[in-house]
């Protein structure tokens, strides 16, 4: 982990806690959050901007449901790539336009030899498999084996929740 550990103070946490179920869908959502937390709207806006600036908040916006947008096929492609070459190739796989995330992760031998994970979305399995062939070509001989795990059901999708500490602090500020 590079860089200094950053932390959230009580007000940051209270603001995030108040938005965890989602921003209120009203003309002045930050004002509604401010009223809930008991500070001014200006303060809420400044805190959120500061959290964006230090990347505690990655983004503010929608998480779409891929399935409901017709992107019903989500294939987690996994690859056993030569350790010497995986970082250079991982960058190239990650740069493909249809890959939404791409990571190096540990193998679990002997059952799980794969160290490179790349998620591909499509409207049909055929479309995802077609996209997958582009990764096959890119990896070439550096890849010893591979697999693709199609998702068949979203069992849960809530995003990160702040833990107990946040709830206690938020309830104190109520």
């Amino acid at each position: 982990m590079s860089g200094r550990e950053r932390s959230l103070d009580a007000l940051d946490r209270a603001i995030l806690e108040a938005t965890q179920a989602g921003l209120p869908i009203v003309p002045e959502p930050y004002k509604a959050i401010a009223e809930r937390v008991g500070v001014s709207e200006v303060e809420v806006l400044a805190r959120l901007q500061a959290m964006l600036d230090r990347s505690v908040v990655r983004r503010i916006g929608f998480a779409p449901n891929h399935y409901k947008l017709g992107l019903t096929c989500n294939g987690m492609t996994v690859w056993d790539v030569d350790d010497e070459k995986v970082d250079a190739l991982g960058e190239m796989v990650g740069a493909l336009d249809f890959v939404t995330h791409c990571y190096r992760r540990p193998r679990h031998l002997p059952d799980w030899p794969y160290n490179l994970f790349a998620m591909a979305h499509g409207r049909t399995r055929a479309e995802v498999l077609e996209k997958r062939t582009r990764i096959v070509e890119l990896l070439g001989a550096a890849c010893r084996s591979s697999d693709i795990l199609f998702s068949t059901e979203i069992l849960k999708k809530t995003g990160m929740r702040l833990a107990r500490r946040a709830r206690e602090e938020a309830s104190c500020s109520d």
Partner: protein, 148 residues
Amino acid sequence: MIDETDRHIVNALQDEFPLASRPFAIKARELGIDEDDLISRVARLRASGVVTRFGPFLNAENFGGGFCLCAMAVPQDKWATAVDIVNAQPEVAHNYRREHRLNMWFVLAVEDRDEIANVARRIEATTGLAVLLFPKEREYFLDMRVSA
């Protein structure tokens, strides 16, 4: 069903929702629709589940926390129980069923990264099934935005 305007909205609101008093008014202007229309469409997209979340997305690693992808091989006769147990953990941010011997894949999101091992052990103890951990060793790319 979502129409063409909804698709534009989904594309436009995946990130950079304005930090301003009237953020919907700003986005509505960009989209060429009324603020009221945008607000009612966003409410409908949320209610119908086209949008699963709307708000700030946390980067736990930047405040001492962390994420970890985990997988389990769940036998069919234990499936329903395992889903209940795993989904009941507040640390489980999302959970997918996949076609593989390792058929349950979920992500733990914790505020203190030392908690990952504890949560995994708790799930193992409750389900009686092994939890394999796939922590990120290196991130090559992450952009969850999709074109609607």
